[in-house]
Symmetry: C2
Amino acid sequence: MPGIASNRVAPPIYERQAPARPRSDAKRGRIIEVATRYFAEQGYHAARVGDIAATLGIAKGSIFQHFGSKDGLFFEVYKQAVRSFSKYLDAPIEVRQSGFFEVLRYWLVRTEHMLHEDWIPYRISLLGNYGTDLVLRREINRFLMAEDPYGTVDFVRFGLQRREVRADMDVEMIVSILDWTMERFQDALLTAALDPGLFRRQSELAEKKEARIQQFLDMLQRAIGAPGESAARRVERRRRDRRRPASKAAALS
Amino acid sequence: MPGIASNRVAPPIYERQAPARPRSDAKRGRIIEVATRYFAEQGYHAARVGDIAATLGIAKGSIFQHFGSKDGLFFEVYKQAVRSFSKYLDAPIEVRQSGFFEVLRYWLVRTEHMLHEDWIPYRISLLGNYGTDLVLRREINRFLMAEDPYGTVDFVRFGLQRREVRADMDVEMIVSILDWTMERFQDALLTAALDPGLFRRQSELAEKKEARIQQFLDMLQRAIGAPGESAARRVERRRRDRRRPASKAAALS
DNA sequence: CATAAGAATGACCTTAAGTCATGAAAGGAT
DNA sequence: ATCCTTTCATGACTTAAGGTCATTCTTATG
């Protein structure tokens, strides 16, 4: 299966100035754009390279000249989709100031809003995670490791600095746990809309989303949050606030 | 994509005695056996139905007559592989008596032993999870939901009865968390051997496995374990025992 | 304007999944 | 034992989609 990573190899260092191929790059962009739609709408296997070419009014051979293979094309599509997502620390400053777990909440809540604005990149990401081939999947994981597109590592460091994340675990372990559970939880939220029946036991996730998010955050808090004081209490306070948002003065029992 | 679930529909209730098709079933079994090897060794796409038929010395058409499609064949292979795994509560009685989290430890430790005995079903399971197609993946998830082949639901109930699992979360949520994280953690352990580079940040998981397992269990314990007393202390005690296994009398500081 | 490098083409190839008409074998019922 | 029906097996055939490549076209540049 050639072409996944074989085209666009790292350019030799002596190559000066970057080759600058405006025509080619523009076309690559257009191909990726149309291919993204097709993959998202039809799935990896059902999407036909021929259809993509026909839609663009170009020859099928051109696509292979640019991307080497269907896998190679999808990989580019995937990378672009994933790069279009925000990093954890891109949350607004006031959210960041409320702490690690509030940032998580922010993104979980926003996920479905963003989904309704533009579901296409989410679908692509889903395909990359579950819908292609182990060979491609390995390539994708190399990419995720190299780029850390959600900035999980930085985010965990941020949590460590604020002493909201426990320091007695390996950072790698925390990052993995966070990646795994966030990915799956988001998948569950998403696929309720995009792909009903794709993930187990998500049916009820659809309703009571806020409550689920809170439960999930509490769970994460216990799993990787710093023990004792500040963080736990902060989230707990926030939780009560959400239940009775108007009772600013009445509380303080 | 016909045939995934279309053959072998649920038999009508009025059908008496079960049809009993010994010849057919034996052949199905042989096909599944050979197909399992091919899928495991070559991956879903690289495995050729023609090769499977040739190895069996039968016509390719026969396979399609039995299973409808390559997807249908894989689905049967997958189901058989997953059914061959143990359920959580199949752990030995003395392990069960040591509690919920000790059962988890038992299976995590055994995973790699069993892997060396027979890696084939693990590879098949991995393919089902990540290496085929979203359409098939949905079918697989329906199956996993319907059969609960690892007995996660029963196992969580077991933990709840023993008051080792927290009662303030939805059972469904706990089951999901457990499924997700155990699956991924096992994948990480496995793929270090089966498929290097498939999952992120597993490189170090390979070394210090025991320590990782302990960290992982501690994390799970905090995430879904009952708060406070018994369970937490039990695992903590066990942890110390593992560090200094011979100092039965010397401890008790 | 000549030339070379890169880009585009589309006819062609390959391969593998999937189909189906035909015939053989097995399992009764008379 | 002989029909007859149902199930199974066969392998030649079809379809279709990914992939190749020699040729032609376009653009940039001296």
